[in-house]
């Protein structure tokens, strides 16, 4: 009986461990500093996590489909620079769709290489990280990009506006999470993504067009990157060429923290959102507790490894790995 209960506990922890950890963190921080759970603070944290969060939503699709995307940070820099540059040349109404078109084209190129040519996604997106950075520098000539007339445009609404008292970035993040969550959980396309990532060969034999599904996971990812670039550009109204540098790995950390397996076939949008929020709230909580800003990286390291370790330990039924 006791064994059964322990096993039940184990399954619960394995399934919802990340949620339990999240709640424990929130309670711990709230006890340490009541300011932590004030509405202002919470809304501030979510707002500043929104850009990373939006990118993580797209990468979740790619990872569930059994691939990686290391190019999102570099691609976000590209979107930001392009939309800022075109804003002054074409006006915001044309600049935004043009930027989305170009970013989606990059996503389509990666999707073609990984999906149809079946090249290794780690190397392809690593190469694209470098290549897109080159494109961005070519576009901007290496200079910072700024909007000339910062007060005479409605472009700042995406990053700085509020609607019904809620900051727009949070609304966009929530809306995108809801829509993509529905697509992943409730549509045939979503089920195919799980099938392809879970067992590609089996998926092919059951008539699922593997190449096309993988292709579209990268389309989703680049769409999210374009949204993130829009938020970033609109929030700062100016940008360096390296604004997204290094974000690919933080995004991946959030997705993994949410429990998506790098082998593909598992993970959900909801869990990724939790992963993003955990990263954001840890950073904020540690700051409020007076720890050095950079201590959050060390804590994130420990949490990522513990989260993944406990997850696989629960699945295999023993704590230490069977590696001799």
């Amino acid at each position: 009986m006791a064994v059964l209960t322990r096993k039940g506990m184990g399954t619960l922890l394995a399934r919802q461990g990340i949620l339990v950890a999240f709640v424990l963190f929130m309670i711990g921080f709230a006890v340490a500093n009541p300011r932590f759970i004030e509405i202002d603070n919470i809304s501030g944290v979510i707002r500043s996590s929104a850009i990373l969060g939006v990118m993580a939503l797209g990468v979740t699709f790619v990872v569930i489909g059994g691939n990686l995307d290391l190019s999102v940070g570099s691609m976000m820099s590209f979107s930001t620079i392009v939309v800022l540059d075109l804003h002054d040349k074409l006006g915001p109404l044309l600049a935004i769709p043009a930027m989305f078109g170009l970013t989606l084209a990059l996503g389509a190129f990666i999707g073609f290489l990984v999906g149809y040519l079946k090249l290794n996604s780690l190397i392809v997106t690593l190469g694209m990280l470098s290549a897109i950075h080159g494109l961005t520098l070519t576009w901007s000539g290496g200079k910072n990009m700024d909007i000339d007339d910062k007060s005479g445009t409605w472009f700042s609404i995406f990053g700085q506006g509020t609607a019904m008292g809620i900051p727009v970035p949070i609304l966009i993040f929530a809306l995108l999470a809801a829509v993509l969550g529905m697509i992943l959980a409730k549509t045939p396309f979503g089920r195919k993504v799980y099938a392809v990532g879970g067992n590609g060969t089996a998926a092919t034999f059951s008539g699922i067009p593997r190449a096309r599904v993988v292709f579209f996971t990268y389309i989703v990812s680049s769409f999210c990157v374009a949204v993130a670039g829009l938020l970033q550009a609109s929030r700062s109204m100016g940008s360096q060429n390296t604004v997204g540098q290094g974000m690919e790995l933080e995004v991946l950390a959030a997705v993994i923290l949410g429990g998506a397996s790098l082998l593909g076939g598992s993970g959900t949008i909801f869990k990724t959102v939790i992963g993003v929020l955990i990263l954001g709230f840890i950073q904020n909580g540690l700051l409020l507790m007076g720890l050095a800003f950079y201590a959050q990286y060390v804590v994130t390291w420990v949490i990522i490894i513990l989260a993944v370790w406990l997850d696989i330990a629960a699945k295999r039924g023993r704590l230490l790995s069977p590696i001799a």
Partner: protein
């Protein structure tokens, strides 16, 4: 059998053929486009190229053995920065004040020890928890970088020791100190991977882990040794570079892991493990540095270098797969 050996030859020779093409291209293009009068194939220029290859090169050599073993290490850039800080900072510690220039070997040892310990931490976690090396070292990349920043905030850590600078700038038999370290590392690792039991087992584990376990090979210790080696080499790379420059920024070494992996993959090492060669990685490192210098020579900027290297990486992947596929089909007949 005959076509098999030919395929292997083509694969191992490919990177050197690529280097030859680069040399020819930049020499000829340089005649028309060069920003300076100096010829590209200038001897001093080539010596400098080898020296500049050393920091990424030493790390890429370590990455090769980790990847042959079937793992990957994304934390090398952060390890590099932390080892550099320990190197420069420890030279100013009061307890070593009485040592004079004897502080140099002590600081070197401390920096190398730091790298080895950080590598061992990764190795132990991969071994004992069974978490994928990609995730473990991704986390460590953040964590170690956090330690770097906690050490000295966003301030650079600087200390110039002129004896050390003289040593780092010295040339022996025409080659710079850094080049000797690069070549020495390559030689030692080549011996380790081709002549020792550890090397043979590392290939076996990367090729087919289950088979290796069934053959009685203990997988864990080999993982640990390889991660300690790459940690040591990341620190060695820092030691060689910062002995000369004398100042480290907390952001130094960022994206080094990606450059190192690019060099390793250009050299033909397989991501899945079990296949790869130290000598070919040396070729990959030189090819990348040649591309950077060559594009600079004909007046192209950083943006073109990034673009070209990214696309070449993808092209290599594509060609490699086409070659392999043909090989497999030939085998079937």
């Amino acid at each position: 059998m005959n076509s098999d050996t030919r395929a292997t030859l083509i694969k191992q020779g490919a990177i050197w053929a690529f280097i030859a093409v680069e040399l020819a291209f930049f020499s000829i293009a340089g005649e028309f486009l060069a920003v300076t009068d100096q010829a590209f194939m200038d001897f001093d220029n080539m010596l400098l190229l080898l020296k500049q290859s050393a920091p990424i090169g030493i790390i890429a050599l370590g990455m090769t053995i980790v990847m042959i073993n079937g793992n990957i290490d994304l934390s090398v850039g952060a390890t590099y920065a932390l080892a550099a800080i320990v190197l420069l900072d420890s030279m100013t510690w009061p307890i070593f004040a009485g040592l004079g220039d004897w502080v140099i070997p002590v600081s070197w040892a401390l920096a190398l020890l730091t790298g080895t310990v950080l590598g061992a931490v990764n190795g132990l976690i991969v071994w004992k928890t069974g978490v994928d090396a990609f995730i473990v070292t991704l986390g460590a990349m953040l964590g170690y970088r956090g330690l770097v920043f906690m050490y000295n905030g966003e301030q650079p850590t600087s200390h110039l020791n002129w004896t050390l600078v003289d040593f780092a700038e010295a040339q022996f038999l025409g080659l710079h100190t850094a080049t000797w370290f690069l070549l020495g590392t390559a030689l030692v690792l080549w011996l380790v991977m081709t002549k020792t039991v550890h090397g043979r087992n590392a290939y076996a584990i990367g090729n087919n882990r289950e088979a290796a376990v069934n053959a009685g090979i203990r997988v864990g210790p080999h993982f640990l040794i390889n991660f300690m080696l790459i940690g040591f080499l990341a620190a060695l790379s820092a030691v060689v570079f910062y002995s000369e420059s004398g100042s480290v920024n907390p952001n130094d070494g960022m994206l080094f892991e990606l450059w190192a992996i690019t060099a390793v993959v250009l050299g033909g090492t397989k991501l899945m493990g079990g296949y790869g060669s130290i000598v070919a990685t040396l070729g990959g490192v030189i090819a990348i540095q040649l591309l950077r210098k060559g594009l600079g020579h004909i007046g192209a900027g950083t943006e073109t270098v990034n673009l070209v290297i990214g696309l070449i990486l993808i092209a290599v992947l594509f060609l490699d797969r086409q070659l392999n596929r043909r090989g497999r089909e030939a085998l079937k007949i």
